[in-house]
């Protein structure tokens, strides 16, 4: 399975760590950059990741920045992306069971590399539960902003 990974400069080292770990456990990793720790703008890389998922170049995505906030907002601009910002494995599991999340965001300044691996492992190991959650996930793919709650 192909997993795309992207970051900003603040998360460059964490990106390298997680990319290596993913490769070690058998995933094909698509590193979307950046290629150095020079300052970049997180939206550019969040959009790159979103496009890779939207175009089916990768089944899942890992989005990293200093807090995880900025790059997760950017990734979620794309209706094909369901990017969950997490800092511990329970959220990573819920993102899969309830939201069928296809991307996970984490903050390199907020959690350490072992916690990040634990979150990512939980994310990768947890199936979507379906059922009533499917209807809600479908609505995330159809953001008609004027629809009334139902």
């Amino acid at each position: 399975m192909k997993i795309a990974i992207a970051s900003d400069h603040a998360a460059f080292d964490l990106k390298a760590d997680l990319a290596q770990w993913l490769a070690d456990i058998g995933y094909e990793v698509v590193d979307l950059g950046p290629d150095s720790a020079s300052s970049v703008d997180y939206p550019d890389y969040g959009y790159r990741l979103a496009q890779a998922i939207g175009d089916n170049q990768a089944a899942l995505g890992v989005a990293l920045c200093g807090s995880g906030i900025g790059i997760s907002i950017a990734a979620n601009r794309h209706a094909a992306v369901r990017c969950a910002l997490v800092s511990e494995p329970l959220s990573a599991r819920l993102a899969r069971t309830h939201n069928d999340a296809n991307a996970i965001a984490m903050g390199a300044r907020l959690i350490g590399p072992e916690m990040a691996r634990a979150c990512l492992a939980a994310f990768l190991d947890t199936p979507f539960e379906g059922g009533r959650h499917q209807r809600r996930v479908d609505k995330l793919s159809q953001p008609q902003l004027n629809q009334e709650p139902a």
Copy 2:
């Protein structure tokens, strides 16, 4: 200042608690529902919140669901919304200083009401830093997904 608040059923009680707290400290609260704890779909309420911010009916938004993940994804579908999912006040502060976040998401099943208030207080008390962060925030409002990193 007007603050819109929306949730799903799982966060109905937390919504009531935070709405009251916001009113007590002087904010005008726009409660976008739901009006009961009956089961609803979080995307409907996330989109409602996004629309309220996009239409300038509220300056800021509070988005709540079980984990905060689903409703934050929904809110961030709207290019006018920068919704930060947080579970502690440091992330709430960074969401303001770096991302000029105009919405905060929290998970009622993951954090308690006092932590939620502390996050919201940090969010409300922290100004945007501007500077180099402004360019990145501007890019979040212009999600042209094919743009190359620059």
